[in-house]
């Protein structure tokens, strides 16, 4: 009878793992991932469940600390959001996406890094770049132009980063098998302890 019992238990596991193979681990959910970067004074980002489904129409909050919400917004149909940060720019921004029904994803942006600082020099009028002199061009104009070019240039990198982030947020076969291994071990441990008690 015990063998039969073990056999039917095994059948359950077999059915579950069969369903698992039919629906490979690429289709999963229940974690909300948020990816956000600061571009100028705008926070651009993306929110998705860890099966890759975008979190559509979810409220997005930019917070300085736990109680102080700076900006509120919503994700669009593709799970993308873009929020303008009012000045002065805080050193650290927390991006929170509420997926409803207990889903929530957060990420933080350090804004104090170099590159976001704008050093104003009103007297600077002449710039020399390898023999080309730029006269009468304001620093701001150059900065805006450079920012625009850099943004376009690094767009593929950012897209790749987003894809990588999405890939990383899915549980892999290592985690799945590792977890099952833990359960097998725990079961064995429990049997060992109970078995010892039964002998005594």
């Amino acid at each position: 009878m015990t063998i039969l019992k073990a056999r039917s238990m095994f059948a359950i596991l077999a059915i579950v793992s069969m369903v698992l193979t039919v629906n490979p681990p690429s289709a999963m959910a229940h974690r909300l991932s948020v990816f956000a970067i600061l571009e100028g004074d705008t926070v651009n980002g993306e929110a998705y469940f860890n099966d890759g489904t975008p979190a559509k129409g979810c409220p997005v909050f930019l917070k300085v600390n736990k109680d102080q919400t700076l900006v509120k917004g919503k994700t669009n149909e593709e799970g993308l959001f873009s929020l303008k940060v009012p000045s002065p720019m805080p050193n650290r921004l927390e991006v929170i996406v509420e997926g409803g029904a207990g889903h929530r994803g957060t990420t933080t942006i350090e804004t104090s890094r170099k590159g976001n600082e704008t050093v104003k020099d009103a007297n600077a009028k002449t710039y020399k770049t390898e023999g080309i002199s730029l006269q009468g061009v304001s620093e701001e104009a150059i900065e805006t132009a450079v920012r625009k070019v850099v943004r376009e240039e690094i767009k593929p990198v950012i897209d790749e980063l987003l894809k990588l982030n999405l890939e990383l947020s899915k549980p892999g076969i290592t985690e799945i098998l590792g977890g099952i291994g833990y359960i097998v071990g725990l079961t064995g441990l429990a049997l060992w302890i109970r078995g010892k008690k039964r002998h005594e």
Binding site: F10, H30, R31, A55, G102, I176, I183, L191
Partner: protein, 200 residues
Amino acid sequence: MHIAEGVLSLPVLVSGAAIATAGTAYGIKKLSFETIPRCGIVSAALFVASLIHVNLGATSVHLVLGGLGGILLGWSLFPAFLVALLLQAVLFQFGGLIVLGVNVTNMALPGILAGMIGRAMLKANINPFICGFTSGLLGILGSAACVAISLLFRGEAFMTSAVMITSAHLPVMIIEGIVTGFIVSYLSKTDKTFLEGGIK
């Protein structure tokens, strides 16, 4: 079904953890030498069940198998869920360690009740598929209600979120009902003792 970290208030977290601790202690006490392997197998099934995911518009839902666990384990479903959800939190970042107690309670308690109903129906010689179907469906329905209750203290109006969560889980209720129905009817054909096995 997993509630994310940082969503719930302290009283909800504490009461969830208290119920989960008491349930786990009682469940472990109820475990016999014969039912430990069964508990391990069910725990492994619960652990992978959350990877079987049904894609539904903005939300994502997955199998829970609480009703099936309730039929097979009774109160010992608590330790099975504790291990499965702990590993999911650590390895998949589903839910989290602080909300572990609430998540365990939300899934185990309705599963146990649904299992009791299923077992009573089986003893009354009702078609095993219908018994399994009822347990599977009620397990998810109960868990959805528990999630709505947990979110109640957060300002999300109970009826709105209950209706939202329940309707989002409607397809999973039916799928889980069918899966549980098949497993229970298979078990009742191959192993008549699975209802006994020291679980009262």
